[in-house]
Symmetry: C4
Subunit: 368 residues, 4 copies
């Protein structure tokens, strides 16, 4: 603990940029590395989840991502559930280069109501393609659309907000009782973000299958500027990983997956997140650079369109290659933006690991 | 304590940029958050004071700020008390883009004497609008104009300088005896800046209703370059908050308000200041970006026009929206420059707090 | 050890930029400084090895570097062993300014197979010039070409990869058994990179004459972005120097040379590497700025042309002078890019040292 | 002590940019501040010495600086003692904008021999103006020109090099025996740079009246890039101040002045140097910005023209005002480049000090 001043103390925390992974005395062939991620009844080829952000996931890219072996999550409060055909809106947004104008236009287009029938339609479309189906709602609207989502037959129900707590208190509205909500649902729930041991432990006790660590969308998020709230990801993941271990003990063996969600802009960050204790990573920035990405070279999160207090900005990402090249390679750029899966495989092999679970124990260092 | 070299030790200190607020395991609805600030006999809607700087506060903006529910303070040694009509001068300054030329012109226009009748006139104008009245003087001239200000009927008397001490010693002039001065005055006094536990404790013992922490105008101030003097704000506020607690004990219960004054460029900084122990924040930079701001897109503090040793620079701020949008929202920018009150409300709710006083205890972290 | 979060701890580490050398109470004349480097049967005029990178070492520059008194190493999997005449390819690459296009073209031209007869021819050419001969292979292909290299009569066999371990495990291929491989070879082996005490100790036990510390090519390498793997050089060298000492004890007196390989962009970095415990430095960036450098003002390492996961970028270096001016002076630039040998001599003299081995004990400081 | 790696430890050190001065609970009027500096038989109006650099000190500016109340030192191995009329050369250098071309031309013009008769002439010129006379030689040539300088009747003899030790050892030349040299001289000697407790203590034992701390010319010096050698100034001054105290005890009361020489680019740095324990500051960068400065808006130190290993660069400074405005004010810039004396006076008053010697004890903080 550090003394800020006589009346205040604070913990020192670290982000992925502050740390690095250290090789051991062994190396392994990348081909020997096993990346499978088993959560609930499903197994994925690699521990990467595509984030429910409109600039990244459309029904089409969710399907493509699922076909490559990952889990794509559609935002159920995004343009695809507000508009029958959001393509013209995406085209229009891509044409606006001024930041303030873009924020104002997003505030307008996202004012269109979410439609239950579009939720059903989008979920069906993904399920019909034969890939795992997952949709995300904010905690504020989870209850309103839960039955629609459940009936649509999803594999995962994602509740994702900037900060989601197990215990939300409100004087004027009936808050979401997460524990009750999850117990009633027939599908596994992934919930977050959270950023501390205590918050994560309480989320785990609600019965969630996985918790999201972080506030999401670090490339686009400005929560630190607007609210002053921030928890650098390396420390957040390492804290929540401790909650997983303690909850497993407390619950008599229930393993809740820790999914890093934020500050994962390059392939090396994915390796670092696992090195800090994550079981999987929810990725957005690298996917926003795909030619197929609905953002058309731009990237933004749900915080960007808040009506009175936007806390995210739309960021120009450009396009580096196809979604497949970005996820599975081959890469033509040396900066960690392509071949995410190959890079994780190589990072593990080069430091002597073949199992993701073991790689959580790899040595890391802090670089001033 | 850190060893700088064998003959010198130093404390490690932190600014708002070095720290961040951490969510707890609870969240609260922003609507449930109570922001009222009670000081002396008055209650304000939110704990934000507009700084007595000519680029921010004119009689008109002080009135507007007061009508929104805050406390606007007019600089009684600024252009509005030196000139019957300072608008042409403000127009002229806004046209000068060269930094040195601007400093030289400011040195000239501020050489015009302060006029007692203009102090009276400006204070009357604000009081007539039905909002709380507050004017600021430097410690050097507080005695000279005190009776004028008092007769004008202010609600708060602000004594504000780069560094104000309870014990100013001078061989050639009769220094201001703060304790005596405050005792004689009929209105509550807010005094500062100070930056350390000891300095604050002595200021509290003078009978002040509030102390200003910091040197003010961080965006424009260059005290660190010119004098080498600086105390990063997070540490300064946390130190002075300890002085408030100890003085309350020593005085048998007198609560002196701690008002952060400096480095508050974004809404998140306001939340951080309170998290470090502030009761309220004196804000300038965000308000300088208002369309109505007298600075016309430029921002400067009293240090900028010193005749022989200017210690502040005039900074181009641009304009992001109306004063009301900046203070109360809605925001159209995701960078913490608009909707200051909404952002504070959200910061508190999202971390589980509904009372400003309790929010002083929220957990913070240091990020390298 | 630092706590990253409850489930993870990490060591704080330092790069050359974080440290500086401190003068003692003595100074010595640069002329009195002895820089000779004795390794195995050979003695070099100065402890600098030219790195096996195509942008730095051609047969011609390896000869020139050897004639100045250093050890030049040719990359035996580079353009000079893939093409009878690589000059047109080097010309072509120098014309490509777009980064992605350059990566893609490099992936193509390096797809051409390595030819055993060219290895022989290049090694002969260097030996015929009367200078020490050294060639580098990756651990993946060391076995394949070992006999060719040995028959060509080299003085040093260099096995160089991003991370080389004494114990590489593979399920599908027969990995290189370094210990056996080195025992059978008739020439001394220099092997690396490694970056930790444990990894280095195991490499020393294979019988190597020297170990390379670092991942090489820091100016061009992006391993930290792609894999998340990085060990800042000052800490890496200081750790491996401890392994040298402990291995010397364990082996009853075998002295394995520690050769820093990476982050040596300026002459001051060479001095810092030795100050951290290195016996010699493998240098690339400064030599890439030579008029004779085959890169024609560009610089890249073997990671730059990986077929599916490139981890290095081609960097524009420009040209500052002749190879001789860069190595032996005189310098016409005050930035540490010329007269590497003179600078090391001056650094040692100015801090009171005349022997490289003693200079490993010079005091250093960390600057925040 | 910090562990860099298992084989190396290091002290953490700090520069002026890392620290700041903290106000106390008192303030004093700047008019009450006494800045006199007494060294040997002389008293100066303020504790600022003008550095012997050709871009700063000509005979004319040395005289002007002396007339203001300070001590100007002429470089006796600079252009003024190599050329009867260096003005055309200064004109020519000012016209060269390319950095390498400037270094090469400086290497040429400084190859002209130093002439004893010009040393005499320049010293006479300054003495005739009625101000204190001081000339600087490098340790390499101190013996050669000592008698010329002494006969010219200087008040201070300055021996200044990048690193000067009390014990210089050389196999091929007769090194300067500082102790003997100083004993024989009839004038007080100021000698440096040094940067550590031990080096300073040994310099003090040679009988010097003052020691220079630092390597000089931080704005232009690149010793850290070329040699890897650097000691951040705050720590260096605080270490040498401890040597002063210990030497005073050891010598039975001899007070050797500690003169900070380097990294003093703004007025605030002068205050910080004294706060770390300096008695006076040797300043160059601020003076290089004077309209009268011989550098004509450029700034360079003796390291810039070394024949084979230049370790300093010529830097474009521009011009902010007259020498008098820079030293004594008034200032028209808020960045610490003007009114150095007024700023020091204000820094001391604002933190409650009236004596330079007491100001060495002012509280400082470290800001990450």
């Amino acid at each position: 603990m550090i003394e800020i001043g006589r009346a205040k103390r604070a913990q020192q925390v670290y982000g992925f940029d502050d740390i690095a992974i250290v090789p051991t005395r062994r190396t392994r062939s990348p081909q020997d590395v096993r990346l499978n991620w088993n959560i609930d009844a499903l197994t994925f080829e690699f521990p990467i989840v595509a984030a429910p952000m409109d600039s990244v996931m459309s029904p089409a890219t969710a399907i493509a991502f699922g076909q490559m072996g990952g889990l794509g999550v559609l935002n159920l409060e995004g343009l695809w559930t507000r508009y029958e055909d959001p393509e013209p809106i995406l085209d229009e947004l891509a044409e606006i280069s001024d930041a303030v104008a873009a924020t104002e236009r997003m505030q307008q287009v996202y004012a269109e109501p979410v439609k239950a029938e579009l939720i059903t339609e989008r979920m069906n479309q993904i399920r019909d393609a034969g890939v795992p189906v997952a949709g995300a709602l904010s905690p504020q609207r989870a209850q309103e659309f839960a039955s629609v989502v459940e009936r649509a037959g999803v594999d995962f129900f994602v509740i994702r907000g900037t900060t989601v707590s197990a215990e939300h208190v409100s004087a004027n509205e009936e808050p979401l009782n997460l524990k009750e909500f999850i117990r009633k649902l027939d599908v596994p729930v992934i919930v977050g973000g959270c950023a501390t041991y205590q918050a994560a432990l309480h989320l785990m006790r609600t019965g969630a299958a996985g918790v999201l660590v972080g506030f999401g969308g670090a490339a686009t998020g400005r929560t630190r500027h607007v609210l002053g709230v921030e928890v650098p990801m390396a420390s957040a993941v390492a804290d929540v990983a401790a909650a997983r271990r303690d909850y497993m003990d407390e619950s008599g063996g229930r393993y809740v997956h820790v999914i890093a969600d934020g500050a994962l802009g390059r392939s090396g960050d994915i390796a670092k997140a696992i090195a800090c204790g994550a079981d999987a990573c929810m990725v957005s920035t690298p996917l926003a650079r795909a030619e197929e990405a609905p953002g058309r070279g731009w990237h933004w999160g749900p915080e960007a369109w808040h009506g009175t207090l936007p806390r995210g900005e739309r960021v120009r990402m450009g396009r580096v290659g196809s979604l497949e090249e970005i996820v599975l390679g081959p890469s033509h750029t040396p900066d960690g933006t392509m071949n995410l899966v190959g890079a994780l495989r190589k990072a593990m092999g080069t430091t002597g690991y073949t199992e993701v679970k073991e790689f959580q124990r790899v040595e890391i260092v802090v670089h001033a």
